[in-house]
Amino acid sequence: MNSSILSLMIWLPIFAGITLLLMGDNDKRPKNTIRYISFGASLATFFLGIWLYLEFDNTTASMQFIEKTVWIESLGIQYYLGVDGISVPLILLTVFITPLIVMSSWDVITLRPAQYFAAFLILEGLMIGVFSALDAILFYVFWEAMLVPMFLIIGIWGGQRRIYATLKFFLYTFLGSVLMLVSFIYLYGQTADFDLQHFMATPLSLFEQQLIFIAFLLAFAVKVPMWPVHTWLPDAHVEAPTGGSVILAAIMLKMGGYGFIRLSMPIAPDASEYFAFMMIVLSLIAVTYIGFVALMQIDMKKLIAYSSIAHMGFVTLGFFIVWSYGETTQGALGVTGAMVQMISHGLISGAMFLCVGVLYDRMHSREILAYGGVANTMPVFAAFMVLFSMANAGLPGTSGFVGEFMVILASFKANFWFAFLAATTLILGAAYTLWMVKRVLYGEVANDNVAKLTDLNSREFYVLSVLAVSVLLVGVWPAPLIDLMTATIDQLMLQISETKIIGIEA
């Protein structure tokens, strides 16, 4: 049974989603049936995730829970799944966030709810697939298939300019990924199958690695998103329904980071070293410049979207700072920090979007100026929002602090100026987040609409409390999370310190 837990986690939500689609939206049926099925399926997947965590052995760096069967014989494609310390935290994040999304959309979505929940469940299965695929084509299939439910979620349940936003989202990410496919097929020509671990082992010249790195970079930089290919994200976030924004920020962005650490760095280590400085510069631009951009936003969702880009800058910074030391193996701190930052950002940005969703459901406006003095009418909500904002600004004791601090520390060891620029986020992040909080929550009650606001209902309260607890837990006691990935990251550091160029000894 242990050996098929990953398949179960991928296909259970997908089949639940298909069942919902087949049931369709029927007015005669009791209206909560659809919701209970989706919540049940996502909760079951969550418990499978807990089981995965309990069974996972964090002392070894090798792949676990391996499933391997031939899928397409003539092309050497396998149905090959397995997880290590890098994928498990991200899978846990996915299964943790999805039930919360289902709960948060409970009675908000009235248009075709069966299709809505089905799209999220299918998306969940595909995302777990991305994090556990060890065959390049299987990875690509999950990676691309994921775009379809997201395309429909934004396009059907989105806001005013949803069609523009969703087409931009789809085409941007599709354009980014097709060159990755070409690289995969090229690597297949070198190794005769699509096994990612063989890709990592095969020797490649620097030029080949550079081309592969650039192709991967396009795919992952768009997903992260890195400056300057980030422009789809604010549009997609603003137009997506709350649940869509949460899943986009909390999980889909992490796939870019996951791609860098799972594919780019081990498959093209010499090219990664070659491009490391460029990557660091791009990351720092994201952290500082996008921070300033966030400061100027008048739309809350847009502000959080830009803040996501800035925070994801830490992830790429943490990954590529590795090559700034004499010994690559010293880079473990930065990579660990980046991984923690991914998990933490998943929790915090998800929570922030849910907070905006709570306000939007009541007032149907995302404009900061439409609010003011919300704390007077919604005190409980205000407490949550302040907590998440503090976490977003990187307050010690919250999860936001841990990852950022580790990455800044790692950069400091490498180069003072990298650390200096990265640390500006502590000021900028605090500035844009807290300024928004001040304008939305505090002050006099701004208008009649705000005066009529009602505080959180119990459903919203539970969703936000679960997130608040987890943000604090990771903030004060990150050890279990870090232990989960230490062995794998140490192994990765060894792996990328060896050159893959033929004829040159490391």
């Binding site: 397409i72 691309e144 429909l152 354009l175 070409v182």
Partner: protein, 471 residues
Amino acid sequence: MLSASAEIFLVIMICIVLVVDLFVNDKDRKVTFWLSFGTLIATAALVMNNTPEAREFIFDGSYVNDPLAGLLKIASISMVGVGFIYSRHYLIKNNLMKGEFFLLSLFGLLGILIMISANSLLIMYLGLETLSLSLYALVAFDRNSSIAAESAMKYFILGAIASGSLLYGISWIYGMTGSLEFNEIALAIAENPSLNSLPLWFGMAFVVVGIAFKFGAVPFHMWLPDVYQGAKTPVTLFIATAPKLAAFALIYRVLVDGLGGVHDAWQGTILIISLLSLVLGNVVAIAQTNIKRMLGYSAIGHVGFIFAGIFTGTQIGYAAALFYSLTYVIMAAGAFGVLIALSDEGDADQLDDLKGLSQRNPWLAVIMLFVMLGMAGIPPWVGFFAKLDVINAVIDSGFTGFAVLMVLSSVIGAFYYLRVIWYMYFEQAPKSKAIIINKDLGAVISINGILILALGLFPGALMQLCINVIN
């Protein structure tokens, strides 16, 4: 003789249907339908039973039967059969339920079967003309439609020029090699390498023009969008499916079986045609608002992929092109099938006709979604694996840069496929009236749609089959 029994049976049955149809009045036209449909099933059964394990020559070497022919014939017959089922209610509703539709389709199928099994340039030409003449007449089938008459005229004139070109090229090849049969042409070239020179290339160029025209590849594609748009949707469905398989047989038998020895001489030409088709087809399709015309340009883009598999000159390339052709016709049948199902009041051929389809008939919208995502090459739908297979063959023969252009053109293509999804799912329907489809059409189109997904989840068997028949 046994190898050609399917074709012989088909000829006999066409004569019978022709006579029976004379004595049937419009009310009982379903007799013609069922007779034609039965003919298809029996022909398919004959093909199944008489496909040899290895290549077999008959009629003094001018006719060939092999597993490849068997596969292509079964696929073509199925496509025509599916087309009949899709079209029946449409024809009745539009007062077009005439025997001619079925007779011309069967004649066209006969041409297709002959082309697939031809082992001589002349037999190939005969098959091609049987098919083409039936198609010209089919396009003009609705005699009250001036657009249909116009596109039939265009098709006929350009088609006649292409046939002339093909015939001219054939005469040069015959003159140079002294034979019309593909295996003997190949033998002559192998024995006498000095043949690989300008006079043969000159003839070959004309043959390639003829082939490119029949495929609708750029720059010989002008007829295709007009014909797709002008013909009645069931006729477009016919043109878009089975003849593409015959065209694959044409290019494979002529260029690979016959002229495989001078692969270097035709590779560049096919490569350029492939590139032009990919770019022009996908770019121009963006500007279309008529969905049949858009699918026409999209077909040009797909032909670019089929040609890309051919120009590699490798076994895996041919197998990939075959896989692409087979899966493409399945998707094309689905696309036009949905359009036929939507043609409740007049032809549904504008993008606007698809508005809000997800509310008017959710299942039909899902099928169209599968078709569009399949054509766009999004996994896990089968179109992705077809593209993967071809791109793999292209990179394998060293054209990595060309592969990059191929994937970029499919990103351009993705836009107009997504636009169809956008109209179906994101727009409000102008009329909220639900679309009811007939049971037989509904059943077949459901299978068609599910097949596009199922072949994508499990493409291994069909891919292996393609490799086996090519070897």
